[in-house]
């Protein structure tokens, strides 16, 4: 998609975000925007806060009682942390895929139908259609269409992860968050998922945390470099990997420190 033609709509606006676990400050005054239909990568060494930060976007940090967040998180211009904002609604619009594939111990069909069923969709035909289209979008349909009722645990690691992606897609989200989605997978599965991400970005906004810099270089449009809870640099991926502005960014991506 030509950059000029791409609608540079902003999906997330984050302003002056600070995050505390009791007294420990994990995120220090970060401001950034996430653009629509782009792949935004978060990179940085262990403990830099990138996984914590991505969980702000779908309010998974709410599950941690000691966690406190200040600042503005605007999802499509609405305050996502407002008391009146429905968290369930947010999470169905902002899906998440985790590092370790976590399919439910149910059939493949039931895994994908889980989300829609929770939303109240009961009609079998509608569910069938959702399952099929989600699996197709996740490039998994051809491999499992003949055994939808088999347990999801019988799939390989790469297939399970694509199943998790399909499960998220079934909710018809606008944003898909991915927290190191391929770090537990073999290179072939990793490539398949990277190809998939490339296709998905036409329909969804994708934010991916990765510790694999080549992956960030390969698939992302914009890259954000985190260090010790701060956002050091956030720019077009081309810029970051050809001529980053900050020495720390340069040192990290050339591997001078990790």
């Amino acid at each position: 998609m030509n950059k000029i033609e791409k609608q540079n709509k902003v999906v997330f606006e984050l302003k002056n975000i600070n995050l505390f676990y009791d007294d420990f400050q994990a995120i220090k005054d970060i401001t950034m925007n996430i653009n629509a239909n782009e792949v935004t990568a978060f990179i940085g060494p262990s403990g830099c806060g990138k996984s914590t930060f991505i969980r702000i976007l779908n309010r998974m940090n709410d599950l941690i009682p000691s966690c406190e967040i200040t600042g503005d998180v605007l999802f499509k211009q609405k305050d996502a942390y407002n008391k009146d904002f429905d968290v369930i609604e947010l999470r169905s619009k902002v899906g998440m895929v985790f590092q370790k594939p976590n399919p439910f111990p149910m059939s493949i069909y039931d895994n994908i139908a889980y989300g829609p069923k929770c939303q109240g969709i009961r009609d079998k035909k509608a569910l069938d259609e959702i399952v099929e289209s989600s699996l197709k979008k996740a490039a998994l349909w051809n491999e499992v269409s003949d055994r939808l009722k088999k347990s999801a645990m019988s799939l390989s690691g790469g297939q399970q992860q694509r199943l998790c992606i399909a499960r998220t897609i079934a909710m018809k989200p606008e944003v898909i968050l991915m927290d190191e989605p391929t770090s537990a997978l073999d290179p072939v599965s990793t490539s398949k998922i990277e190809d998939l991400i490339n296709e998905l970005k036409n329909d969804y906004t994708i934010v991916i945390v990765t510790h694999n810099m080549q992956q960030a270089a390969r698939i992302s449009d914009r890259t954000a470099f985190f260090l010790l809870g701060e956002l050091i640099e956030f720019d077009d991926t081309t810029k970051i990997f050809s001529k980053p502005i900050h020495k720390k960014t340069e040192d990290y991506i050339t591997g001078r420190f990790g």
Partner: protein, 220 residues
């Protein structure tokens, strides 16, 4: 904490090799200029032989650079350095070739020489030698400022060359020198001018190594 020792060692090795290749090319160039000035036929022959070494250097450095690319997947400054080096060794090798050309000219030139043309060519030779020396210094330090000086100096060389052409033309018209002598001198001067251009190319790649832009075009 500095990591990726292999990458760092490889890059240091690469830079050393390029510096050595540049030194060799420069020395050969100086020898060819000296041989031309003093009509030293033995030196001229030596220059022609040494150029083989310069060629081998180019292959070797290219090999090292390609290895770094597939092995280490360099990014940012490392990437700019390696790709810049890959490009500028071509120009270094061409400078080496021109040294050979000048040496061969020396072997062909008549003993009788109109000394009047020497000042310009000497000036050209000095300017060009300066450009190559400075470009190598700029390369070793990736010094953008020095590189820009090298590029600026090329105007002087071009002017001198134009002067020489004018001078040759007038001298020929006035029958003051032999035609074949004029041709040889002009050809040597042309080689000088080409060496200057190559020095400019090297300087431009040094700027790329710093900025990521080559002749004001971003290559990323």
């Amino acid at each position: 904490m500095t990591l990726r020792q292999t990458l760092q060692n490889s890059i240091e090795g690469l830079k050393k090799d390029v510096a050595n290749m540049a030194d060799l090319a420069l020395k050969n160039l100086r020898d060819s200029l000296l041989a031309f000035k003093t009509e030293d036929l033995e030196l001229a022959n030596k220059v022609i032989k040494v150029d083989d070494e310069v060629d081998m250097f180019e292959e070797e450095i290219a090999k090292q650079a390609i290895k770094i690319i597939w092995k280490e997947q360099p990014v940012a400054s490392d990437l700019r350095l390696v790709t810049g080096i890959l490009k500028l060794i071509t120009d270094l090798e061409r400078i080496g070739d021109h040294a050979t050309d000048i040496a061969e000219m020396t072997l062909h030139l008549d003993k009788t020489r109109n000394l009047r043309v020497l000042p310009i060519t000497t000036k050209m030779a000095e300017a060009v030698e300066f450009m190559v020396l400075e470009s190598i210094k700029a390369l070793v330090k990736v010094d953008e400022v020095k590189a820009k000086e090298v590029i600026a100096k090329d105007d002087e060389v071009d002017t001198l060359f134009q002067n020489l052409i004018d001078k040759m033309t007038s001298e020929l018209k006035n029958d003051k020198i032999e035609a074949n002598e004029a041709i040889y001198v002009l050809m040597v001067a042309k080689y000088f001018e080409r060496v200057g251009d190559h020095a400019v190319n090297i300087a431009e790649w040094i700027i790329f190594m710093n900025q990521g832009t080559h002749k004001n075009t971003s290559l990323f």
